[in-house]
Amino acid sequence: MGKSATRDAYGKALAEFGGDERIVVLDADLSKSTKTAVFKDAYPDRHFNLGIAEGNMMAVAAGLASTGKTVFASSFAVFATSRAYEQIRNSICYPRANVKVCATHSGITVGEDGASHQSIEDISIMRTLPNMTVLSPSDAAETRFCVKTAIETNGPVYIRLGRLAVEDVYAPDQKFEAGKGVVAKDFGDDVAIFATGYMVQQSLKAADILLAKGIKAKVIDIFSIKPIDRELVVSCAEKTGFVVTCEEHSIIGGLGSAVCEVLAEERPTKVCRIGMEDTFGKSGTPDALLKLFGLDGESIAEKVAAKIKTLK
């Protein structure tokens, strides 16, 4: 299995599917970082740089979409979703414009650029918007599927992507289903860990560590945060009776909240949310930051094992 950043897979997928002439790609002076430049190299006439003006970019995207285009608009997650939030709300989501907001540099693994550039609230704010689909892939194969799904979906889609090169979870020919989670590992019924994005890889490491301690975990990749696979969330909770959520995002409003909403309504279950605990990130290498904020495989395993003890 190889290693690549989901932003790289995004650029490649855009170029791969770019033969579809309805596709127009916008960027806000970050095309080399967001990798939309890969599409630009292949289809220069359908790529527009809108400069450092994210709000304008999102509303321009909606205008293009009104003429029948499938528009991808990219920037870093902080600027795409926070700076341009209201344009995404009123110009894109409200009229159900066919715009795909594909944001890279999400989470703390942005690394050295520090807290100003580490988006830890984008899932939360995108999830609350009516008509918005929210996808958060963990690796290259899943990212390709998300881009393909976005093109096939007529309406707003948010795709959350990362800067860091990460291990592949899936083989290139892995079959995914829109709106469905993936059971990435199933050691048993002691605990179900629902993870998204790069936390899938870290949770898989945690599951191995837990297994060595005699704790049998399942790891479920929730790449479709909205809609969420309610059936899978409930059935895993039923089997394990204890649920952990793991995300490179605030524990408020993101995957943890989405899972809690489903379980509170359908099958009340003890949940432990792992993520950024109502705090901003900081500068540092991605590995150092994961350790500092308890989001590496070892820290996750430790936390889950400690929680399980308190349950018994």
Partner: protein
């Protein structure tokens, strides 16, 4: 433009002004002041300048209009109803829970509306997006028009969009700024002075034409010049009177977002009708 054509447009504008008063009055809320100030501009667009009609509402080659100052929906809805996109009678349902006539233009529900607006500053960006699609992606001949308020020009996004339109040389785009000099909290010059708006657009690389927004001949000449202008977008800075056509609403910021009561409605309709009758008489004499 021949006199009979000016008369035709003035009569349509009077009908749209009546529609504005009736719809806002029925809704018991809404924005009559700015709607009346753009009534002549929107009449010129829908009944002379733009290639749009209910029969061609999905034609990819049609001209596009974005009401960036979306709160003036009553003027747009009036124009669309008179044009035949939906029954004029329906204007009385404006803002009602069972109506498709949303308080601000809604592309999903109102026939003839391509872009949902209401949040100031975004409409001009939407128009830039359509103009990029037309000129640079589809190489289509259609033109894109948008009306902004002068208060709206306080929004930073307007200038992001202005920069972008000039950068991409969008000569298929024409933005009309309705300069009525008033915003909710008072005179634009006192609240947050956006002037000189024309100079700002010029500095951003636009062709700028300054006119009266109530003079159909000037409006017509400006649109003709915009159509001939190559290599850059055009901004028409139209000086207008907020509340134009209703004596007690004219130049009063307090009529920005308040509906007339029954007596005021009667008075307003009477004034508009009388002015229209005078036009008719003058037209017959001529």
């Amino acid at each position: 433009m021949i006199e009979s054509e000016v008369l035709r447009l003035k009569k349509i504008a009077a009908r749209i002004r009546k529609d504005i008063i009736v719809s806002v009055s029925c809704a018991k809320c809404g924005h009559p002041g700015g709607s009346l100030s753009i009534a002549d501009l929107i009449t010129a667009l829908y009944f002379r300048e733009m290639n749009v009609s209910p029969e061609k509402k999905d034609d990819p080659g049609r001209d596009r209009f974005v009401l960036s100052k979306g709160h003036c929906a009553p003027a747009l809805y009036g124009a669309l109803a008179v044009k035949g996109f939906f029954p004029e009678e329906d204007l009385k349902t404006l803002r009602r829970v069972d109506s498709y006539l949303e308080g601000h233009p809604s592309a999903r529900t109102v026939p003839g509306v391509d872009i949902s607006t209401g949040s100031l500053g975004q409409g001009i960006s939407n128009a830039v997006g359509i103009a990029i699609a037309g000129k640079l992606v589809d190489k289509a001949a259609y033109r894109v028009y948008t009306i902004l308020g002068d208060g709206e020009c306080e929004e930073g996004e307007v200038w992001e969009a202005a920069m972008c339109a000039a950068h991409y040389k969008l000569d298929n785009l024409c933005a009309i700024v309705d300069v009525n000099g008033l915003q909710i909290d008072g005179a634009t010059e006192e609240v947050m002075n956006p002037n000189p708006i024309g100079d700002k657009f010029k500095a951003f690389g636009w062709s700028v034409i300054e006119i009266s927004g109530h003079d159909f001949e000037e409006i017509d000449r400006a649109f003709a010049e915009a159509r001939k202008t190559a290599g850059c977008p055009t901004a028409i800075i139209a000086k207008t009177v907020k509340g134009k056509g209703v004596s007690f609403m004219e130049n009063k910021a307090s009529w920005h977002g308040v509906a007339p009561n029954t007596e005021q409605t009667e008075q307003a309709l009477k004034e508009i009708e009388e002015a229209a009758a005078e036009l008719e008489a003058a037209g017959k004499e001529a």
